[in-house]
Symmetry: D2
């Protein structure tokens, strides 16, 4: 008896256009999908103010397996590794519906005040929510 792969995290449908000429999801497209899933996680799980107002400062990504169109969708798991003044360092995992890991990622993103055009410190409320979430996991 096999158990179904779990459905934790954010899931996004793939598009035909995500594929490259080799028939795999193009490696740059992983960043687009991660960005989409991360913003949703910032909104729904961390409840950050202006969840989409951030810039990506650094990405490390290991491509472990190819995503193909038959996978249909990709799943994204996020975990906080470090909280900075304005930045969050996350551990991110991308999975296919059959459970296999397709990429392991570390991202550093910096909150932006889009009107002022500067980085924005995380508020105490945001910091507390992030810390609470981090402790829940331990």
């Amino acid at each position: 008896m096999t158990s179904a792969p779990d459905r934790d995290g954010v899931w996004l449908p793939l598009r035909f256009r995500d594929l490259d000429a080799f028939g795999h999801v193009y490696h740059a497209e992983y960043l687009t999908l991660l960005d989409e899933a991360r913003t949703r996680w910032f909104r729904e799980v961390l409840a950050l103010d202006e969840p989409g107002s951030y810039v990506v400062a650094r990405i490390e990504i290991d491509y472990a397996s190819s995503l193909v169109l038959d996978d249909g969708e990709a799943g994204f798991l996020f975990e906080v590794e470090r909280i900075g003044t304005s930045s969050l360092t996350l551990r991110e995992t991308v999975r296919a519906p059959d459970g296999r890991v397709v990429a392991r990622v570390r991202s550093v993103t910096v909150r932006r005040d889009l009107v002022a055009g500067t980085s924005r410190p995380l508020s105490d409320e945001e910091r507390d929510r992030v810390l609470a979430l981090t402790e829940d996991r331990q």
Copy 2:
């Protein structure tokens, strides 16, 4: 007296579509542009067989500055850090025409035999060309 920024490396024109809603070249697009420039460098400088037949195994990218449409194009410099059996580890720099660095990157790419669907060892001739280029720089 200021000297003109040098024009070393591969230069690619930007497109309006490379921008995101913040008016900057989207962070995932850097990987697309890097891939395009890298393949050209594999062809024209390293003279690899089937220059475009590779997969990206790992990327580390630090975003140092925003690229905007007025930059018009981006320049790409590549340097070999390590030669594996089938893989190349490169140090990559992305610059704007005014000379400022917009990203610092390390990539690991693996040569592919597209017909066999397996990784392809670098030939002795390819390895010699890569080594000769590496020594020239020192």
Copy 3:
């Protein structure tokens, strides 16, 4: 009293990357989204063999209103206008969740035999299903 906008047709979530520097879904992206929705409709409603194996021969598109990220998703309605030997001419409508029409489209697509590399005539079964669907609507 207002009734909720209907949810007929295929709905696809938008991505931040679908936006251009003006903050609207980029006009070329409508074709990508239409293609995604059309393939799903070919599979789920027309039940065509190899639903994604077609080429686009002609598109006419009128952009009626901007799609923005707050719309969240876009809805796609398809209607058969003409059945050719290997081609289908469709009337297509793109809507936002609030019910406003954002684009009116006519597409001509041609079924492909990807292995033979030629156009593929619709089978009698496929033709009957398309005709039955067309008659249902009248």
Copy 4:
């Protein structure tokens, strides 16, 4: 003796990412490339104010032949069909370097005042330049 295909118009390099899983430039990508070339033509040939400040109101496109990566670049020819108050209707042709036509297009674009968020009438100077160009061709 064959003459070289002419190099009239705007030419843009293709990218690997322009391809889809069939190995052809994706049909939506033609609109992205056309947009890029059209803006350049608005700037360099029509000398319009704020050449990139326009929205696409309508596109008709006939796909005549596939573009592949070996084509390397695509060429774009533009001809004015009609001048409206704020709009231009253009006849557009996309060609491969070997001279074959890959797409025939009609576009309607509307000049935008991005600050006011409204359509912007063409100035008398712009109108005169467009008319002079149109008469030159006859």
